[in-house]
Symmetry: C2
Subunit: 407 residues, 2 copies
């Protein structure tokens, strides 16, 4: 009999706890698993031996259901990259000694790029040291949708559903006055534009917004942007623009940074205005109409009250599959989604060697972005659409969603 360990890492999403739920469910039904441990704050919790037993709290359908509607990492998270074990093996020795002390045979690490780097490093350390009784599998999680090998990442669909819905609502909000206006909405994504692209789904039910979409993948030209805005304003009164927070110019600098390097506040700090705020000022100055910028901020990664039912389902499935894979003796892999068909939408779960995932980034293909670089193609819409389907049923109390909390 071995024990199962699970931990969460990286930025929060609305689906990461559903993956945790899937791991726990596999542990609960497998008669070879004695205890299920959760590490607090990812790999940090292993290093500091903060492991808690999950069966007592979570052997309960209601708790597991609440867990699935709770955003962010119930076990806590960390942003930590292990150093190379060939340079320093101290942390690795500590990790292995804790795993052995708690009789961990299977470890599922849920997270994004940095977390898969951790999976790769620990599993390759184990291989090199002939530690064969600890199996480590990664389960993907990131709203950014930038992990390779998997068709898409759990967390992305729910964020995309929030973004599409919010753009539809903002489209209603900003068109009420009979005067020209520009609304710039900044969406997360430092390097990739997947989330920004999701704004286009607002058009599915008759909205024309967003009128312009700029993704991180395409070098951003301010003159061209102003021309695009002027052209749209000549057609309609109120325009809505979706932009990635990580827009860069031709030289690869974040546009807000490039233009604002001289600007400091009263304390001598550089003002870290976001990209949206920066473009708001540009439009106000150069075009002069009413302009507003909106940052969707952390809401896009934690608004679980409007989670995508498909996303939560797949997140749970991947957690389950990752634990199953470890129990079946595999290590150093990540559970992936493979899309079999789009209509009807069908997937299967596959596994990829972790070395092909860690530290790689999946960008939006250039051919899924319009030639002008200010919109997306129907193909990209078709890619995202199945991922936002269904509304995950949420339990409310006192008019507010109920969240699970570990004691």
């Amino acid at each position: 009999m071995k024990n199962l360990l699970v931990a969460q890492s990286g930025g929060p999403t609305s689906a990461i706890n559903a993956t945790l739920c899937g791991v726990i469910e596999k542990g609960l039904i497998n008669t070879n698993i004695e205890k299920i441990y959760g590490a607090r704050n990812g790999i940090l919790g292993i290093l500091s031996e903060k492991l808690i037993e999950l069966k007592p709290t979570l052997f309960n359908p209601e708790a597991l259901q609440l867990l699935c509607q709770t955003p962010s990492s119930a076990l806590g998270s960390c942003r930590m990259k292990l150093s190379d074990w060939k340079d320093s093996s101290l942390e690795y020795e500590k990790i292995i000694s804790v795993l052995k002390k708690y009789n961990i045979g299977y470890f599922v690490y849920i997270g994004g790029n940095d977390s898969m780097d951790t999976v790769e490093k620990i599993s390759s350390y184990c291989k090199a040291k002939n530690i064969n009784d600890i199996k480590i599998i990664g389960a993907p999680k990131t709203i950014d949708n930038d992990l390779p090998q998997t068709d898409h990442c759990p967390g992305f669909g729910s964020a995309a559903k929030y973004i599409a819905t919010t753009f539809a609502e903002i489209a209603c909000d900003c068109r009420v006055y009979a005067r020209p206006s520009v609304t710039i909405v900044e969406v997360m994504g430092r390097d990739t534009g997947w989330l920004t692209a999701a704004s286009a789904l607002a058009r599915c039910n008759g909205h024309t917004a967003p009128d312009l979409i700029y993704l991180s993948e395409v070098p951003f030209d301010i003159e061209q942007f102003l021309e695009d805005v002027q052209a749209k304003l000549s057609e309609k009164m109120a325009i809505v623009i979706a932009i990635s927070e990580g827009l860069k110019n031709e030289e690869g600098y974040y546009i807000a940074d490039a233009m604002q390097s001289k600007q400091t506040d009263d304390f001598g700090h550089k003002i870290l205005a976001g990209t949206g705020r920066f473009l708001e000022e540009i439009v106000r100055h150069e075009i002069g109409c009413k302009v507003r910028s909106i940052e969707l901020n952390v809401m896009q990664r934690c608004a679980s009250h409007i989670a995508s039912a498909s996303d939560i389902y797949e997140a749970r499935l991947l957690g389950n599959a990752a634990a199953d894979r470890a129990i079946n003796g595999f290590s150093g892999e990540m559970a992936c989604i493979k899309r079999i068909s789009n209509t009807p939408y069908q997937i299967e779960i596959t596994f990829s060697p972790i070395g092909e995932i860690a530290n790689h980034v999946k960008f939006v293909p250039r051919e899924w972005i319009s030639e002008e670089g200010n919109d997306i193609t129907q193909e990209l819409m078709n890619y995202i659409l199945p991922l936002v389907q269904g509304e995950f049923p949420v339990t409310y109390c006192n008019g507010v969603p109920v969240h699970f909390k570990l004691i």
Copy 2:
């Protein structure tokens, strides 16, 4: 047979279309009403004779249901205050001539403070000029909840539900890392703190956030604020703070304005950093921990996907009651909600002379704010709680809510 006219004015809410729906429903069932007109962009649409017939589009249960789940003003809105008719009666003569041309006997104007000013001015003009065959009734609408005479305003409950839910989700989001952090969330409310107070409902289901709450009504002291933050940080790792956008200092100046008057951007503009962003910089500089500010922005007034069922119900009821009141021969009043009891929550509809409402503001009573000025009392929680109950059922298509749009 007379015709009924309805128009919407002021800032968008998630409930203003439900009030429109209520007005239309009354017009549809009353056999003395021939046509129902909607004016585009509030009073501007009357002045420019942009009246559209609503029966052809809206004599249809599905359309009316969609209307109720559509945020913002379906008829469009305006921000226009009429000048005093004793100074210049030109606009009034135009308005009356249009109303007569379209055989309008009853006019319901849905809006906030400025809109009630319009109701007051036109109805007093009619009275002075012995125009007795046009009856004008106001129906309240404002997320700010700052209209007097009515216990609360339609639109507030849905905004409050969004705010409470978002604070609960942000509480999950920001507690995942094992290091001290401050999250400042800026809520709408230039003069009143009703919306900011709604953040406290996040505590109903076990969250401790928000840890501090600052309303517009209490003079804001930065030194005291920093002491409060330090004290909370000594108790727990991640704290969440709710602030009204309109925080003012002891002298009555908006705190962000007062401190930033010298600061300009590259174009020579004054940087209009919001209050949250401003306090973020102060905390970063004075305390030095991880700090983030979040603006809930227009989402708090248009996130109809999480509208309060109670709010939408009451908004519809008030529209119905306002039209009914006009048809019954009354004029120069606003439909109000009177709370009969809190447990069980019971209301009745009353009417107040418009002169007691227009240009008055209802502030949060000081006794509903903690003595220290950094939290609210249980009484204020009890006041808000019934207003966020129930989830209005939303129709989705393609994974995104469907919105009604007038052709």
